[in-house]
Amino acid sequence: MSNRFKLITDGFVKNNPTFVLILGMCPTLATTTSAINGLSMGLATLFVLVLSNIVISAIAPVVPDKVHIPAYIVVIATFVTLVQLLMQAFTPAMYETLGLFIPLIVVNCIILGRAEAFASKNGVLDSACDGLGVGLGFTCSLTVLGAVREMLGSGSIFGWNFLGGNDGMLAFVMAPGAFICLGYLMVLFNKFLKKS
């Protein structure tokens, strides 16, 4: 039990996909224009990660070694299509905002990485916990990055405009701000959280 709990908590700091493993940079940078966008992208990835980890850990013993990568990709792509259709049906506005980056969850290296490194070698429950931990860690980092960019770029947080005006530093909502914010957040992470 404590072991599984550790699998979940590891995803936050020790194995944080964004700040430590530096995986899945494209959605991290592209979708974090606001805290809520980052959160949604994180949750979509979390959903795919947990389900694909479960299925892959279940099928791994019977999949021939030669075709394991294509087989895993098909599993992942299936769940991504599921998310795509669900989001289109229930949150069409968010689907429009995240756009291309929903189908691109397929090529998010975090998911295939966890499938290869963990799910293919461990049991179903452990893999589900690992997926949950890494997924939550990813969601958390995306939300933090989104919140920082939203505060600097549009002076609001989760849509609540605390400056009372419309004057943020627009560059932070656009491409350069994404790189610079992530860079500085990584510096803070290295300085205060990472154990050497």
Partner: protein, 200 residues
């Protein structure tokens, strides 16, 4: 004229790395040296153009007539994975020297989201390029894909040059490696923002 606008737009205005955030992982991963960066850009250029051609045709003549466009993501990623494998095999047999140059980068490209991103973009998005919003025809799609991959190469080579200089500088410990690289990309992206508005 329109092709010219597509090229300018894809390389500078909507640079795939610096404005659209596609293909960041290999961008950060193999940009330590100028020579590997050039090799990777050439491999990406080759695969993006080829993959876009194949997926465009598959979408037009297979997915749309049978009304199964919801399979787009699965179909495209499988096509790209198969294509990369095939290119690898063919190159190995026919042009060993090119294989030597691109070889090690090819397997990495399957998970490069720039390839899937461009393939999905050209069949689902409407582009304007100065005129009315429209879906791209095959010729435009090919030009767009090729120009986009040139933009990828451009960003990659510039950044590799910057990184070679960064490696010689003494940066604070917490900034070492990826953080300082990200901040430099940010400044580079800021420079590329100067092109925005040139092509609508």
């Amino acid at each position: 004229m329109e092709y010219f606008l597509i090229i300018i737009s894809a390389i500078f205005v909507n640079n795939i790395v610096l404005a659209q955030f596609l293909g960041i992982c290999p961008f950060l991963g193999v940009s330590n040296k100028l020579s590997t960066a050039t090799g990777m850009s050439m491999a990406v250029c080759f695969v993006i153009t080829l993959a876009t051609l194949v997926t465009y045709l598959i979408n037009k003549y297979l997915l749309i007539p049978f009304n199964i466009t919801f399979l787009q993501t699965i179909a495209f990623i499988l096509v790209i994975a198969a294509l990369v494998q095939m290119v690898e095999i063919v190159l190995k047999k026919t042009s060993p020297s090119l294989y030597q140059a691109l070889g090690i980068f090819l397997p990495l490209i399957t998970t490069n989201c720039a390839v899937l991103g461009v393939a999905i973009d050209v069949v689902t998005k409407q582009f304007t390029f100065g005129g009315e919003a429209h879906f791209l025809n095959l010729g435009e799609a090919m030009v767009y894909a090729f120009a986009t991959s040139l933009g990828y190469g451009l960003a990659m080579v510039i950044f590799a040059g910057i990184r070679e200089h960064l490696a010689m500088n003494d940066v604070p410990k917490a900034f070492k490696g990826v953080p300082i690289a990200l901040i430099s990309v940010g400044i580079l992206a800021l420079a590329f923002m100067g092109f925005s508005g040139m092509v609508k």
